[in-house]
Amino acid sequence: MNTLALPADGPLRRLSTRLIGGPRLMLFLLLAPPLAWLGIIYLGSLFALLAQSFFSIDEFSGVVVREFSFATYREFLGNPSNHDIVLRTVTMAACVTVACAVIAFPIAYYSVRFAGPRLKALIYLGVMLPLWSSYLVRVYSWKLILAREGIVNWFANALGLGGVLEAVLELPVVGGPSLSTSHLGTFIVFVYIWLPFMILPVIAALERVPASVIEASGDLGARPRETFRRVILPLAFPGIVAGSIFTFSLTLGDYIIPGIIGPSTPYLGQAVYAHQGVAGNIPMAAAFTIVPIVIMGAYLALAKRLGAFDAL
């Protein structure tokens, strides 16, 4: 009879035994590298940035004074044009979020309720590709589309709707000299770029609505429209809130889209970028970044109460 040879008690095996025998040591070895990376590099940087918002810039020399003061915050809050920037950005983020939800819901609903397995996979991949890739290329495509000699104008004229386009552009606030230099243009591109971030959480939320609940609603005499409004929609709502976290946060922080498409009025991200760049005013840039952090903190707290985290 063959006896199974036990492996020799080599150094590797002894090391393995020590690691398995000491769960704390093992946990430490697993956690130390990722925590060191994120804790030191990422959190360290974040705190260094926030700390700098309490520095101030010397008005005459333009040099950052490394002493604790509220001067930068006083200047930030005292400047009405900063209020406009924050208000404009938050309004845009809210509009973009609502538009994304309205466009995303039918896609998600159709995909979950009516599409066969092949079509479902196709829709899924079709949403995932733009979510993960080609951010800048997709922004660029709108420059082609909205250009004066571009597609939108060509179609509008071909369909005899050139006058309608002109009328839209003459509207106050949203309009402008052309689509690519109007707030409407910025809005369209924001909606386009962040839309996939809304579709996927809504699909996930709809997938989790149990069949029995829908059947029960029907059995109890609700017409399909009522079932939709009073059963499906409320159950899908956490998914919409989860998606809105992304659309809202991403719009707040983006500085590239409004710089490429839209009028030259600044958004939050652009203000941060300008202050840290040419002006070299890191304290003011840091003070500006507090705004999205505070807004997103409040937003996440609200979203948690609405059950959005279970839908993520």
């Binding site: 590709l129 082609l144 890191i282």
Partner: protein, 272 residues
């Protein structure tokens, strides 16, 4: 929610809205591809006057584009490797044991993509300035790896959660040591999830522009090159060709990630 078993057909309004939404998402990408073949070089005139392949040749001859492409590929490769190692370690720790601060660890991992990219970017730049570290290849990698970790972590953790712990116990009971179990049981189990996470991290890094503008200094990755062309256009047809190229390079790993995990319950990429 299951598909409708009572044979109800979707209404015309729903079908139109769903189709319209998907077209809205994809027609612009198709248009970019169309313009890359346009023979008109001065403007974005539509319909395009004629087709040509000329600009593909021109773009591939340009040294600035080739350098940017090479830099992007190198940065993405190195960042992906760092993210795969750190993300897997973190996922293993969170799966393996309950420990004090576990929730805080997950939050810390998600933070770099939950906060707007500009905050990550400017924070890293401010820290690099404070520490007087000059910009280099490695400063770009540091930024990219930081937000790629969570991508690998999410995918691998999802797979770990569906891995039966009894498999590992059985392996140990049968006399395998920890490293043998790792090699013959754990790694084969998480392999496709790890690979899918890596693919997505690669696509994310290859395409990233916001954090990169803050950590790149004078070097340009392909997205940085594109951004400068968007702000100050020089040769539009060349930009169009590069845009198509970026689409192609990022689509491949994403489709692969999807195929790798399609038959499992957690499809890679469902959360970013």
């Amino acid at each position: 929610m299951p598909s409708d078993r009572h044979g109800a057909r979707p209404g015309i309004a729903l079908r139109t809205a769903a189709l319209g939404g998907m077209l809205f998402l994809h027609v612009p990408i198709a248009i970019i591809v169309l313009y890359a073949f346009s023979s008109e070089s001065k403007s974005f005139v539509f319909p395009i006057p004629g087709f040509t392949l000329k600009w593909f040749g021109v773009a591939f001859q340009r040294p600035d584009i080739r350098e940017a492409l090479l830099l992007s590929l190198q940065v993405a490769a190195v960042s992906t490797i760092v993210a795969m190692i750190l993300g897997t370690l973190a996922a293993a720790a969170v799966w393996r044991s309950r420990f004090f601060g576990r929730e805080a660890v997950s939050l810390l991992l998600i933070l770099p993509i939950a906060l707007p990219g500009i905050i990550t970017g400017i924070a890293l730049r401010a820290a690099l300035n404070l520490a007087e570290i000059p910009f280099s290849f490695w400063t770009i990698v540091i930024g990219h790896a930081t937000f790629c970790i969570v991508v690998v972590y999410n995918n691998v953790l999802a797979r770990f959660r569906r891995t039966n712990r009894a498999l590992i116990e059985a392996s140990m009971d049968l006399g395998a040591d920890g490293f043998q179990t790792l090699r013959h049981v754990i790694l084969p189990n998480i392999a496709t999830a790890l690979l899918a996470g890596g693919m997505l991290a690669f696509a994310l890094s290859f395409d990233e522009v916001i954090v990169t503008t803050f950590t790149a200094g004078q070097q340009s990755t392909l997205p940085i090159w594109m951004l400068s062309e968007l702000v100050r256009p020089r040769e539009r047809p060349v930009t169009n060709v590069v845009a198509v190229f970026v689409i192609a390079v990022t689509f491949v790993p994403i489709v692969l990630a999807f195929r790798l995990t399609r038959d499992t319950q957690d499809v890679a990429g469902s959360t970013k």
